[in-house]
Amino acid sequence: MSVDVANVLNLVLAGVLTGLVYGLMALGLSVIFGVVRVVNFAHGEMMTIAMYATVMLFTALNLDPFLAVFPVAAGFFVFGYLLQAGLINPFVTRPEHTQFMLLVALAMILVNLLLMIFGPDARNVQLDYLLESIELGPLLIDRGKLYAALVACATAAAFFLFFKYALLGKAIRACADNYLGGKVVGLNVKRLYALTFGLGSACLAVAGCMMVLLVDVTPVLGPSYTLLAFVIVIVGGLGSMAGALLGGVLIGVSEALAGLYFTPSAKSMFSFALLILVLLFRPQGLLGKRP
């Protein structure tokens, strides 16, 4: 195998692994939108908070990011629950632009609180095994990326099983399908919305813990991850869980290849071009159902 082909394969593989973490981030957005019907414009900002929490747990307590997943996700579940119950629930029946304003204001507060507390400098975790890679013939697999992708897959699978088989998951899906019907059969819709927002936030928190292994964290990452999450869920199909992962992988690979064939700074241009094409020709997304 020539060096060039191996090089491209390595990049694609790295793109797939990164993409799975992207997909997990988008999964949180998709779950929230699919049920609550509110677009979380503070999604990336919330993930940045999870990333800072992970970095802080590592520097203060030397807690490995793979273990930090548990406290961070639990904290985010509570945060998400309270956010929906206290702030967003009164807005679910209001017009879209009002919801948008609410979440934009929230995003502005979150990103700047991070800036106030941590300053603009980039932070990261330094772990020996992040520098190692596994050799598989011509392929070099980054260990940190591989583990992060595996955690992303496991979390996504857990969510999938929960919504498919657990009674609570079924109840949430019932609310999503039919708000009034859910109320009629005696479901506490507002509480289920809060639970969903909590679960979506926990999912996002896991993605944040894993993202720390891939990039350095700065406060300004927030808005760009919000946009990235939108691109992914629209491409994959809003409300489709498998679609979010597929969208994540597609975007991860397209970013990697754009970095190779053009310049790395142009990579998100391809994501947005993909988004525009999908919106125009398959607005329900690749794996979404027609509304």
Partner: protein, 330 residues
């Protein structure tokens, strides 16, 4: 004379006399207010009148600014000729986006995300366009600040104040006329219930297109002004999504779909942002981010407690009927 007319007359007189009464700093704040009043008015045509949520209006500011600035620096074409090219470019761009979106039945959140995608796509594209300076920026010649050259839009802050005042006033009058025109009534019908509007025989595709084209053309003018006022353009700044958000905050805070809403929103937000800067400095809290946190909290409170905006609430206190029907919450 009605109460509303008296208030309006006083307001206009104060605006005309302002440069004689204040220093350069206050004047620059006033220019900023007028700029946001103008862009808010332009955005309001699309969202407030016709109900099409655009979160990507920085696209038209940016393309308008770059078109006129490129003609000026590369071909020595003056701004007053550049305006037409800028408007044409933005109206075409708006038409293409509107055509694609409305033909394929994209609405609501999806339409809003499409507008963001177009703006972001263009931002990154301009970052790599070396002819227009790329990410390093495009700069306009600044000659003498004390000479007012209206033909080339080179001059003192006072000149820019009056130019922006004229633009904002013209936009106000134009929107007042639009609201009472046939198109204005059709837009409001579409905003309230598109299916019902269609059932009444309104060609909703054509009128939504009209709203997008008018709004993008108006926004292009703001872009041209921006280019000649600030004399430097960076894709990272002018196309950024936070610019789009700045544009839409005014009309939403002021009162969506009303004529005074964008004006009032621009005044309140700009004064608020400035007041916060002063307050933060006075309290000795000058660390990055503090300002925006205050700003975000204020927005949050307004959205929570005054969801219809401030102008409708004030107008009823003053005994004036709000111009243009505000959007009804459903």
């Amino acid at each position: 004379m009605s109460r509303g007319a008296v208030l309006l007359a006083v307001f206009v007189l104060v605006l005309l006399a302002l440069p004689a009464m204040v220093n350069n700093y206050v004047l620059s704040v006033a220019v900023l207010i007028l700029y946001f009043a103008y862009t808010g008015q332009a955005w309001n045509v699309m969202m407030g009148f016709a109900g099409q949520l655009s979160l990507g209006h920085s696209l038209y500011v940016g393309v308008g600014a770059y078109t006129a600035a490129a003609l000026f620096t590369h071909y020595q074409v003056g701004p007053w000729a550049g305006i037409w090219a800028a408007m044409l470019a933005c109206m075409l761009l708006g038409a293409v986006m509107g055509f694609l979106a409305f033909r394929f039945g994209i609405s609501g959140v999806y339409f809003a995300l499409l507008t963001i995608a177009f703006a972001e796509f263009t931002r990154i594209g301009f970052d790599h366009l070396d002819w227009l300076g790329g990410s390093g920026g495009l700069f306009l010649r600044v000659e003498r600040r004390d000479m007012n050259d209206l033909a080339n839009l080179r001059g003192s802050p006072v000149m820019f104040y009056y130019v922006m005042l004229a633009l904002a006033a013209a936009a106000f009058a134009f929107c007042a006329w639009l609201l009472r025109s046939r198109a204005g009534y059709y837009w409001q019908a579409i905003r309230e219930n598109e299916e019902a509007a269609q059932a009444l025989g309104i060609n909703t595709f054509r009128y939504k297109m009209l709203a997008v084209v008018i709004s993008s053309g108006m926004t292009a003018l703001a872009g041209v002004f921006f280019a000649f006022y600030y004399n430097n353009l960076f894709p990272e700044q002018i196309f950024h999504i936070s610019r789009s958000i700045e544009i839409i905050l005014g009309p939403i805070i002021g009162g969506l779909g009303t004529l005074f809403g964008p004006v009032l929103g621009a005044v309140l937000l700009t004064v608020l942002a400035d007041g916060i800067t002063e307050l933060v400095a006075a309290l000795g809290l000058d660390i990055p981010g503090v300002k925006q946190v205050f700003y975000g909290v204020t927005l949050l409170l307004v959205v929570m407690f005054l969801p219809n905006g401030i102008w409708p609430a004030i107008a009823s206190r003053l005994g004036i009927r709000p111009q243009g029907s505000g959007r009804s919450d459903d």
